[in-house]
């Protein structure tokens, strides 16, 4: 059952990937095509905003895929091709936002929260009274022995 589900999930995934990028869009040069696909996976489709243009069946995503392939064929570097798109649509199209002052909160707040939590835990543990480190007296030792014997 689980195996069948996994197989179905994989097949669905493959089917979807095959659906988005049409064979006619692909470049003949496999190295360029691989670069185009890697770039497309980083760019957000603006119509269905949580998919990359490489995964999306939207018309605009198709146009952008073709555009990126054209830029690469014209000799653009990966960074230049991405800049071509962000110049027009802004940083929002990058699925991975750039690290810059406007996104510092986004990138670093998890670490800040972790540090605050760690500091809190450190203060709490330091303040907790440590038990006295004295040997047991005769009474306590007898009590302990009785407890151990009862247990057996």
């Amino acid at each position: 059952m689980i195996r069948a589900l996994i197989a179905a999930a994989i097949l669905l995934g493959v089917a979807q990937a095959a659906f988005a990028v049409e064979p006619s869009e692909m470049l003949a040069n496999p190295a360029l095509e691989a670069r185009a696909e890697a770039i497309g996976k980083q760019l957000r489709c603006l119509v269905c905003q949580n998919e990359s243009i490489e995964d999306s069946g939207a018309d605009l995503a198709h146009d952008l895929r073709v555009l990126i392939r054209e830029r690469l064929k014209a000799g653009d570097s990966d960074a230049q091709a991405i800049k071509y798109v962000t110049d027009r649509y802004g940083d929002f199209v990058l699925l991975k936002p750039p690290v810059e002052p406007a996104t510092y909160l986004l990138w670093f707040s998890p670490f800040v929260i972790l540090a605050v939590g760690a500091a809190g835990a450190w203060f709490y543990l330091r303040r907790r009274p440590t038990p006295p480190d004295e040997p047991l007296d005769l009474n306590q030792r007898r009590q302990l022995e009785r407890l151990l014997i009862d247990d057996q």
Binding site: L64, R88, G90, F92
Partner: protein
Amino acid sequence: MSWRRAAYLLPLIAFAALAIYLSHGLAPGYNPELLPSALIDKPAPAFDLVGLKGEARLSNRAFADEIVFVNFFASWCVPCREESPVLMDLARRNVIVLYGIDYKDKPEDAEKFLQQYGDPYRRIGVDDSGRTAINFGVYGVPETYAIDRTGHIRWRHVGPLTADVVKKEIMPLLQELGAS
């Protein structure tokens, strides 16, 4: 109150700050899918498109020394029908200079659309490939851009124009840009 007791209020304060910050996302009228234009205050992209109905070509060079509005539309676009009365009203009252760009459309369909809903445009260019739209950063029709006298994009609206947008955004914009 000792500082130690005050420290117990910290989580409450942190929660309140987070709640206030997140409540912005729930404000009425906030739509996270509306994106700011990357082209605000940048020169309008150059284009030179075939005119609709055999009219003269439409190029950005036509926008000389004038505040112009450029509206991307298509006959297949339903919200475009919704905004057409607003555009027609603006055209009738001569409030703005409006150019149209027909996005990925069949010219004969566009002509039928304009016959049915009216033609508010001074001239219309046909963007068959959608490349001009991409250069403007269009991600769905209708979209409207305002270009100032120096050819810089100053305003963009995604989705249909409404009387409210005209009143609250376009009129103040015209004033700011010094429309005569």
